[in-house]
């Protein structure tokens, strides 16, 4: 008989390694597969440990959202896309912002990261939200974000007295009540304005050139110049499609959750029982993974889900 404690400890090591290692190679996967194939004890312990790990992620989703929602208790927390009072949206693809790498994080400053294939949404205390694309690292503090690597979509709650600044690859983007997109490659930042207005300052302290952008404008800032061209709305929309990777719910009614998934999926979820529709849910789900939300409905609420005329009907 295999010692259950020892098997659990080994399963946990696998999970932690797989989830936190900077890279997970084919060889790593092969070793894990070999271990899992050794015995059913190993397999079951791994499933159990993996489930435990996922549950702590749920706690994370809950906690990281609480502080923001508490600031404004009467505001219903909702999916970012629905919030109307938002002033600006920025998306940035960036190389490492080398100037800021050496900075020591301040107590109020947090580093967030996504691994390859991961999307994550951050809610800031001021009501702004940041969606991080795959393989991204950024530091966020009050009204300031340093994009160190990757790509992020910013939805900034505008405050004229406290402009929101985004730093990337040695340049600065200042929100002026806007929706805009920023991309950067080494020594080069591309800013495309979706709606409203924003200013791009070359150089992180605004000492260099500046360009004020209108919707559809695309600014390319290099070390010593800024040029402005135009892009069509569909072209911009396509570049931002990754944003729909994840849906984040914080005490959102299941009916609204279904509506949100239905925006992104051909197979629609139907909930006709109002009692079921009022159940609330917390968590982050891939927008294209209806299976995940259906499983949650099954597991957490004990609901039934069945296929019917190409729709998924959730009921008690």
């Amino acid at each position: 008989m295999i010692d259950a404690k020892a098997v659990q400890a080994r399963a946990v090591e696998w999970i932690v390694q797989r989830q936190t290692a900077e890279s997970w190679s084919e060889e790593d996967q092969a070793s894990l597969d070999a271990w899992l194939a050794e015995s059913n004890e190993h397999l079951l312990a791994y499933w159990r440990a993996e489930d435990g790990w996922k549950r702590t992620e749920l706690l994370g989703a809950l906690r990281s959202f609480r502080p923001q929602t508490r600031q404004n208790p009467d505001r219903t927390p909702m999916v970012w896309a629905r919030r109307a009072a938002v002033a600006a949206i920025v998306a940035i693809t960036g190389a490492v912002a080398a100037n800021y790498l050496g900075e020591t994080p301040q107590p109020s400053e947090f580093t967030y990261s996504t691994v390859v294939g991961e999307h994550k949404t951050l809610a800031l205390a001021d009501g702004s939200q940041i969606e991080m694309n795959t393989d991204t690292v950024l530091r966020a503090s009050k009204r300031k974000v340093v994009l160190m690597k990757g790509e992020a979509y910013f939805q900034i709650k505008h405050d004229a007295a406290h402009p929101f600044m985004v730093y990337a690859s040695g340049h600065r983007i200042v929100d002026l009540g806007t929706k805009f997109v920023v991309k950067s490659a080494p020594n080069r930042v591309e800013v495309a304005l979706v709606e409203g207005a924003a200013r791009v300052d070359s150089g992180s302290n605004g000492s260099g050139h500046s360009a004020l952008l209108k919707p559809g404008d695309v600014a390319i800032a290099t070390a010593n110049s800024i040029s402005v061209t135009k892009k069509t709305a569909p072209a911009l929309a396509k570049e931002l499609a990754w944003r729909h990777g994840n849906l984040v719910f914080d005490n959102t009614a299941l009916g609204d959750v279904a509506a949100e998934f239905n925006r992104y999926n051909r197979q629609k979820i139907v909930i006709s029982d109002p009692k079921v529709a009022r159940l609330t849910i917390v968590g982050t789900f891939p927008a294209n993974d209806e299976e995940a939300i259906i499983n949650t409905a099954r597991e957490v609420f004990g609901l039934q889900a069945r296929q019917e005329n190409g729709r998924i009907v959730i009921s008690r």
């Binding site: 404690k5 946990v12 059913n40 702590t56 809950l62 580093t111 004990g302």
Partner: protein, 194 residues
């Protein structure tokens, strides 16, 4: 990145036809049907078996037997089947150790009563689970808790956690493993009671 899906597809091809799907079904069943019953199962075992250090092995035995049975046919509903298996394992143990389980017998008779089906309000249960998880987190040793919070709540990488905590990545790894082991052990304790 491009070759990753290719390779995993090749790996799938090596399996007998349908095997992957069966395994996925078994996993989905185990995670969504069996694991949520773990707390009830552990309570049952703890109230019927005095030696706490045996319980983890007994749970493993029970899951194993359940899994073997599920490979032939996934039992439905899971709960009564799980507790029947648990009862048989207990009886085996009593016999092997020549224990006359005076209280145990009574408890075995009342299994059905002791483990009622969950009521209709699963939402309360889900909330309990979150509260339970939070209190479990609060009871971790401080360094373990810090590591797991930085990872799962703040989303820091292992390297960043190491920098923040002023320790090596290897030590971060150990804290994360310790935290997960403790959380898994606490998963079956009631209402956050130690």
């Amino acid at each position: 990145m491009v070759d990753t899906p290719e390779t995993s597809r090749e790996r799938d091809d090596l399996r007998p036809p349908g095997a992957a799907t069966v395994m996925d079904d078994l996993k989905a069943w185990f995670v969504s049907e069996v694991l949520p019953l773990e707390q009830a199962l552990m309570q049952f075992l703890q109230s019927n078996w005095r030696r706490a250090e045996d319980i983890a092995d007994m749970r493993q035995d029970i899951y194993l037997r359940l899994f073997e049975a599920a490979k032939r046919e996934i039992p439905h509903p899971t709960r009564p089947f799980l507790f029947t298996v648990a009862r048989n394992i207990l009886i085996d143990r009593y016999r092997r150790e020549r224990i006359i389980p005076i209280e145990g017998v009574a408890d075995l008779e009342s299994i059905a009563v002791a483990t009622p089906e969950p009521g209709p309000d699963r939402r309360a249960i889900a909330r309990d689970e979150l509260r339970h998880l939070q209190s479990a987190l609060d009871r971790l040793p401080p360094r373990c808790r810090e590591a797991i919070v930085l990872r799962q709540v703040e989303g820091l990488t292992r390297k960043e956690i190491a920098q923040r905590m002023g320790i090596s990545e290897k030590t971060v790894n150990r804290h994360l493993c310790d935290a997960m082991n403790l959380l898994l052990d606490m998963q079956h304790q009631e209402g956050g009671a130690a």
